[in-house]
Amino acid sequence: MTLKKLTSQLRSGSVWDIASRLLTITFLVGLCLAGVYALTSPVISAREEQARQSAMSTFFPGCHFTQISCQAPEVERLYKAEEASQCSGYCALLSVNGYGGNMEVMVAVNADGRVRGVEVLSHSETQNIGSLAAQESFLSRFKGKTADFGLVQAPNVPDENQVQALSGATRSSRAVASAVTAALRAVENLAVAPPTGEEDKLLPSETSALKNWFGEVIARPVDLPAEHGAAVEVWQLHSPTQLVGYAVKTQTVGQNEAFKITTLIGFNASGAVISYEILESFELESFTAALLRDDFRLQFVGRTVPVTTDGGENSVELIPNMEKSCRAIVKAVNDGLQTVAALQGGAAQ
């Protein structure tokens, strides 16, 4: 069947005539559908947005919500609820597959990572059976649960960290349970996951130090206040829900004038010294080890006021015949204190 014959047939009346008529019909249908869609889509999205906002405000009255990025696949949107810059929890919007089809679930998580409340925004479960999974009586069973809560079948009684599934609607209750677990996991990951690139300029040694002082935290660099002394870098340390403390990196001159000692000092939220770590030092081997020994280091723990070496009530004892290196540490700690105080905006003393 040569191409010429094919094209001649194409041009011949009937084929083109049929195709053009079908084209006009589909064109018309497409046109009126697009019109209807243009008319209705704003209404639909507005209503959905409104439903979402109202659901969130019921969980976190008086909070304003900012959407934050979230890697979990099931979570469509994740909002952080803040009240006067104090993070009071998270709201996760998820879509899961129930028995009858798609289910939109909103899970509110408290600051401490426990479920504050669950609400099903839209579902198409079978009436009177699956739809029970969307009602308050079932959803309230999730309150207070953590991420590893178990789902138990109807007959046996759930213990503290378990939720009893609806008898007869196992598929629907499992769908809601999966949504809650996914939300809790997502919020949990939010804290552990290394924050976005620019926050984390910490060296491995630094992060390990912070980890054993504070546990899982995110270090967010803050620009140095006016009088920062020997401090070169400052980080604010956040746990998933609130500020945990500060870390100051200082460079002070010890015995060896040629190279400075780099120390990292950890402060808790109220600005008291937790501990310090020497990241880089060109002092004599024994000197650096001595500086890190507990008998010297523990003197600084808990200080909120600059330390003196004159034997006064908040003075520290220097290690004999290595006073210079000790004074370097004292200056580091004092400058750290000063920077943190400046950051906190409160008076140093």
Partner: protein, 285 residues
């Protein structure tokens, strides 16, 4: 701008999809058109369309194709009416051969009152199923059980179950012969429809045995054989058989038969005999 853009998108996408489907279908309908024999459609029209398979083909459409190719003759299909058969011959422009149509006959007249039952059977309403219980619950082992296996098969549902036995409604019977195989007792014969004398019994036993099981059973006394002027009746294994070719339809045998088991099914126009009267009466009930 977004809305207009979106409307444009929708209409263009649907339009193009519709267009290429249209082209595809139009082209296909042109290039793939099967050169169908125009006669085929008219032939299928003329055939009864019962797909009964009596003509040995797999359905009327298949029969029409073979008729068009000349591999089949209009008479192969027993179901087509006379007028349709002429129509087919005209389509194929061949001479219509004469052929008398047949009609099924059930050779048993042992109704419930005349032929007692041996036991109460409440199994499946099907003769083949009843047969498994010692040949059925009828005293006469050769008689019609009346559970309608033949009726179930008949495409023109011309077989009626009346007080215990199956009876053929001659006006509706198409003579397709499907019931002949269906009957487990092999009681059904295809006989010429116009005029037939038939013996309403197939019991080969001696007269004494037959009397025990049926009040109208043929006791093979041979009176009909003696009285038949055209000598058309012969006794074959205990049952009188009328040779349709030689029978002159005089009706003598029916009158002489002591058991009144020879039925004459003349055209309804002629005066019906006593048996035929009650037969038609029974049918029209």
């Amino acid at each position: 701008m977004g809305v207009f853009h979106m409307i444009l998108n929708a209409t263009v996408v649907l339009g193009i999809a519709g267009a290429c489907m249209g082209v595809l279908l139009a082209l296909a309908s042109k290039r793939l058109a099967v050169k169908e024999d125009p006669k085929l459609a008219r032939l299928t029209e003329a055939l009864p369309g019962a797909n009964c398979g009596a003509c040995g083909r797999s359905g009327c459409r298949n029969m029409a194709e073979q008729l068009a190719q000349g591999k089949a003759s209009p008479n192969d299909c027993p179901l087509t009416s006379e007028s349709n058969r002429e129509e087919i011959c005209r389509i194929l422009d061949i001479a219509p051969e004469r052929r008398d149509s047949l009609c099924a006959q059930i050779l048993c007249s042992g109704t419930q009152e005349l032929a007692p039952l041996r036991f109460e059977y409440t199994g499946l309403r099907d003769c083949r199923a009843a047969m498994r219980f010692g040949g059925g619950n009828k005293a006469c082992p050769y008689g019609c059980l009346g559970y309608g296996s033949c009726a179930a098969v008949c495409p023109a549902n011309a077989i009626v179950l009346l007080n215990g036995i199956a009876t053929v409604d001659r006006s509706r019977c198409l003579g397709c012969g499907l019931c002949v195989e269906a009957c487990p007792k092999h009681l059904i014969r295809l006989l010429p429809a116009e005029l037939a004398f038939r013996v309403g019994c197939q019991n080969p036993e001696k007269g004494v045995e037959v009397r025990k099981v049926c009040q109208v059973g043929c006791i093979s006394c041979g009176i009909c054989q003696k009285n038949c002027p055209a000598d058309a009746i012969t006794m074959e294994n205990g049952v009188a058989v009328i040779d349709q070719a030689r029978c002159t339809h005089c009706g003598l045998c029916a009158e002489k038969c002591p058991r009144k088991v020879i039925w004459c099914l003349k055209d309804p126009v002629a005066a019906p005999t006593k048996e035929e009267e009650n037969n038609d009466a029974v049918l029209s009930e």
